[in-house]
Every structure is written in structure tokens, then in C-alpha cells.
Amino acid sequence: MKRRDFLGGMGAVGTAGMLSTPALLASSGRALAQGADIPVGLLFSLTGAVAVVESTLHDAALMAIEEINASGGIHGRQLRPIIEDPASDPATYANRARRLMIRDKCVSVFGSYTSASRQAVLPVTEQRNNLYWYPTLYEGRECSRNVMYGGAVPNQQQDDLIPWAIENFGPRFFMIGNNYVYPKEENNYCKTLLAKYGGEVVNEEYVPLGHSDFSSVINRIRAEKPDVIFATVVGDSDVAFARQYHAAELDPSQMPVVSLTRSEVEVKAIGGEAAAGHFSSAPYFMGHGTPENEKFVEAYKSRYGGDKVTHFVSEAAYFQVYQFKAALEKVDPANITPQTIRDAAVGLTLNAPQGEVLIDENLHTHLWPKIGQWKTDGQAEVLVESKERIAPRPYAAYEGQTCTGEGLVKA
């Protein structure tokens, strides 16, 4: 064989190979549109600092997906969960979200616990015009058309709580939180409510994230003798704070800690004895007595272990998958895109473990706020339950700004 012939032959093979590749791609593209599976992304950290909480969100969301698949899927099509581990690093969240939305063609991605990771994904989901389902309570002041917010915003956690706390304990509030955007925004809104109901702030203090020695804070609390400790301390900082508060023998009936962030997860680590008598405000507590919740808790425990707890973020991670399902059922099966899912989701009601929730046109969720008092067994007794479902107002602390179905409107 001459060299020239050989090269020519190889070229032909190469060209044929090149030609066949796009054909393959196109056929797989068609297969996806008609196929049985609906790809959805799960973007919760399973390793790294945030994994403590996010792994429970991952578990709850995955459980919902498998429940839906077990009962026949949506329009007879199964959900195919694609799991990515962003390892608690915001930049990795953005990266993996991009991969899920472009390579895996997910029509929705469920993920994130911290605001930092949500804000890292935000430009990606907006650029790809995809949908990101975010289950956590957060500080508000965001109005994206590509994020479904399942958690409470400040007005939903505080509107009932603040007047109740003033009436029951007194008007002098001591604010303690970690030094980042969430506690500052919550305190910001709290101050507008305090002004309205005649309360006052005796001290406002922020400690670094992960801060673990609260002896100076506790000394200051001792000196100031406030009526209420308004706490937005998160994660292991909150555990350390609660344990040292208890060790200092400060009496919860005189100076209760009223927390926006303390859930069953933290209480388990704090220990029931140290947590008992203090309060949390949240739309969901594990002991809440609805049939949906009993089913949720039972399924969760039998799947992941009898000592596991559900909490107000894992509940939202769970019901958001069902909201996604309900929205998909309204969508024409030939035309499943993130936009059609979003438009179908608006106005949708669903019996969640906390009660019937509704998706607002601003893509936040109408919820049922509750105030719970912690008991020594690590569960909360719900003392106050909101009489009506509370609408989300993510810009409640900012007069003249409203988050609507058309995005942010400034008066």
C-alpha cells in the first residue's frame, strides 16, 4: 500500500467518524425529549462544613423523588435524580449547577442551604433560564424569576413572634447573631417591628461565623438583664451558645432565647436539658400533628434511622419536590421546560407537613408560622399557631419595594 493511499483511507474513515458524531448527539437529544425519564438535579453538599445540615436536605428531597417514582412517576415518566456534591464551596455550586443545567439538561435543580451558595447559583440559573428550588428560610431582599423559595422570609417568622414576645416577656431585646447578611437583615426587620409595638434594642451584637466562646456575650447579657434574647446564631455557634447559656444558669423563664434558626438538628446537639424552655419561630416542627407530617416523619425515620430528626428546612426540601410534581402534572408533556413548570407552579396549593402551602406569584411560599417551646426530649411544643397562612413579603423591611410576579417593583 502506498503511503498516500493509506493517508487518504484514514481521512475517509476520519470523516465518516466525524459525520457520525453529530448524528449520535441528535438522536440522543430526541430520545431525551420523548424518553421516559425527567432529569432533575440535586445540589446539596454531602461533604464539607455545611454537610451537617445539607445532607439531611438531600435525604429528604431524594426520599420525595423516590416516593414519587414508586407511585408511578409523573405522566407515567420517572424522575431521574442526578446527584452532585458541591462540597460546601460556593464556586463549586455554580460550577455543578451549570453542569446539571447544560450537560444533564435538568429542567429543575433542588439545592443549597446557605445564602452564599444560593447567590453563587443565581447568575447560572438566570442565565440558563432554569429553575432552582431553594428550601431554606432566608433574609429576603431577593426577587429572582428563576428561584423557587420554599422557606420563610423575615415577615413570616417575625410578624407573630415579636408582639407575642413583647407581651409575654417584656420590651427589652438583646440581639445576638453571626456576622453575615442573614442575621443583619432579620434584625433590621425586627427593629421596624419593635418600633411599631413599643419595644427597644438594648444591645445588638454579631460574632464571627463558627465562633465558639460566648463567655463575653453571656457576661454582657448578665449585665444588661434584657427581657428577650433575640438569636440568629447559626449551626455549631448556636450549639455552643446554648450550652454555655445553660451552664451559666441563666433562667429561660426570666430571659428566654427566642431563635429564628434553632431547629431539631441543633437541639439534638445542644441536649434537651440545655435547650428546654427556650423558643423558636418556624413554619414547621417535627412534632406537628398533621397526617402529612406523620407520614413524612415515619417514612424519614424508617428510611434513615430512628434517631434522625426532621426540621423546618428538610420539610421544605421534601414538599418542594411535591410542588415540582404538581406543577409538572399541569404542564403539557410535550412541552416541559423550566418556564412552563414555573408558570404552572404559581398559585399551586399543596398539603405539606406544616399545613396547606401556596406558591405566590413572586415565587416565594405562603406558610404557617408557629412558635414552639423546646422540651427536654428535644421536641418543641407549639404554643402559638398562626391563624392564617402568611404571605411572603421578601422586601418587608424596605418601604416602597415589592417583589411581584413581574420581579422587583420600586415605588
Binding site: 465562633h211 466562646d213 463575653s216 451552664a247 439534638k268
Partner: protein, 289 residues
């Protein structure tokens, strides 16, 4: 005035915890020149051993202390024999190697035990407070202060009054000459590393009732421990004690005068200034390497 007295006690309490964590590091760093970035993970292991003993065997924190010491010292011994020993002539590589070991230990705990925060109950007899006039002191914190002083004293005795301590000091001064005199420097280093790791384990056990026990708890602590060692001066036990007291009290006073976040910044700025004028710390030891 009441606030200041209480705050001085809080500072002392912080100092005692810092000292417990830094002591092991000071010995390893000072004696062997090894920058042990896995030290925080030894502290974390100590906390988890305490948790395991309490939840699965039913042994409280105080009786668990010797067991924790031995368990974590064993881990330290294995790490030293397997990795660190091979790298004594490459100090920069030990930084990387111990950092990697730290990550491995952290992930092992996360995979084996779980990522969630664990609950360890404090000792019953040390609950409650002692009140002297306006001064309110937690009994447990008082105990930690005295315990850390005792550990400091024992370590000092070990270094200066025992045959082992004499050999160790000889090896620190000049390794080759000591070996000529029949001192087995490898063995001395192994024991020293294990002892330092064991101290870290005890520190981890002691902080469990105050802090939260999670796989990443060591990461922040090791930074504070390094600050203490650097301010105190390489290898100086007294220096570490003084530096811990200084940093603890400074943190406490700054955080009451300003607040915790700015207080932390002020303390770090102070340390940078100090290092500028005393680059070898407060009590540098004269050694030849």
C-alpha cells in the same frame, strides 16, 4: 466593675482552653520543628473518643480522660511512624503531609460517625456556678483552668526532671551528637509526638461540654493554637502559658469594650505588631539546629 471582673475570669477560662490545645503543639513544634497541621484533628478525635465512651460505654468525661489520652496518643504514634518520621529532613513537606492527614482524619470521622453535631454531657459534679460577690464563675470552667495548670506543670516536670526529658532536650540541641552518645532520637521523637497528640486529645475531651462536637471543630482551634505558640516563642512551655493568658485576656477585654468580631481583629493586629518587634516570640529558646 462587675463586668470587668467577670470578663477577667472569662479571659482566664479562654486562656486555659487555649493553653490545653497549644501545649501539645508547642512540644511537637518546639522539640521537633514539625509544623503539625493535623493538630486540630487530634483535638477533634479526642472529642469524638469522649463522645463514643459516653454514649456507647457510659463513661463520663472525667474518668474518660486517661483513655482519651492513650487513644489519641496511639493515633499520633501511628501517624508519626507512618508519615512524619520519613520527613524530618524536609520540614516544608511535613506541613503538606500533616495537612493531608488532617483532612483524611476529618473525612474518616465524617464517613464513619456522621457529619452532624454530637452531644456530650458535662460532668454532673461540676455543674453550677460559684459566686463570689458579683463574680459568677462556672465550676466547670474553674476546673479546666486548674487542670490546664496541672498539665503544664506535669509537662514541665517531664521535660526537666526525667531522663526522657533530658534526652529530648539533648536531641533538640543537637541531634547528631546525641545519637553519638547512644540516644535513640527516632524513639524520642515518636514518644514526643504521641505525647503532644495525647494532650490535644485531652483538650478535645475537655471542650466537648462547652463547644459543639463536629468533624470540622479542629480547623479553627489549630489557628488559635498556632498563635499562642508563635507569640510564646518556639518550644517554650512558659512562653506558651504566658501567651495563652495574654491572648485570652486580650480577647476577653477587647470583646467587652468593642465586640467579639472587632475584638478578634484587634487581637490579631496586636499579634502582628508583636511579631514585627519580637519575631521569635516572647520567650525564644536558644537552640542550635
Amino acid at each position: 466593675m462587675d463586668v470587668i471582673a467577670n470578663q477577667l475570669f472569662a479571659g482566664l477560662s479562654m486562656a486555659s482552653i487555649l493553653l490545653m490545645i497549644a501545649l501539645g503543639l508547642a512540644i511537637i513544634y518546639g522539640a521537633m520543628g514539625v509544623i503539625n497541621l493535623a493538630h486540630g484533628e487530634f483535638v477533634m478525635l479526642g472529642a469524638y473518643v469522649t463522645w463514643a465512651l459516653q454514649t456507647h460505654v457510659g463513661i463520663g468525661i472525667l474518668p474518660a480522660l486517661p483513655i482519651v489520652f492513650i487513644a489519641v496518643a496511639l493515633v499520633g504514634l501511628i501517624v508519626e511512624k507512618a508519615v512524619v518520621q520519613k520527613l524530618y529532613h524536609r520540614p516544608l513537606d511535613t506541613i503538606l503531609a500533616t495537612w493531608g492527614i488532617g483532612i483524611i482524619l476529618q473525612q474518616l470521622v465524617r464517613l464513619g460517625i456522621g457529619a452532624e453535631s454530637r452531644f456530650v454531657k458535662g460532668p454532673e459534679i461540676l455543674s453550677g456556678n460559684t459566686e463570689i460577690g458579683p463574680l459568677i464563675m462556672s465550676n466547670y470552667r474553674i476546673f479546666v483552668i486548674f487542670f490546664s495548670i496541672a498539665v503544664l506543670f506535669v509537662t514541665w516536670r517531664l521535660m526537666t526532671r526525667t531522663e526522657f526529658g533530658m534526652k529530648l532536650r539533648a536531641v533538640i540541641q543537637n541531634r547528631d551528637i546525641s545519637e553519638c552518645y547512644g540516644i535513640e532520637s527516632k524513639r524520642i521523637f515518636s514518644i514526643t509526638f504521641a505525647y503532644g497528640a495525647g494532650l490535644a486529645g485531652i483538650a478535645g475531651a475537655l471542650i466537648t461540654p462547652l463547644f459543639s462536637t463536629i468533624p470540622t471543630m479542629g480547623t479553627g482551634l489549630v489557628v488559635d493554637a498556632f498563635l499562642v505558640v508563635i507569640v510564646g516563642g518556639l518550644g517554650s512551655l512558659v512562653g506558651s502559658a504566658v501567651a495563652a493568658a495574654l491572648i485570652g485576656e486580650a480577647t476577653a477585654l477587647f470583646s467587652i469594650v468593642i465586640n467579639d468580631t472587632l475584638g478578634r481583629i484587634a487581637v490579631l493586629a496586636g499579634i502582628i505588631l508583636l511579631i514585627r518587634f519580637r519575631p521569635r516570640g516572647l520567650f525564644p529558646t536558644e537552640t542550635r539546629r
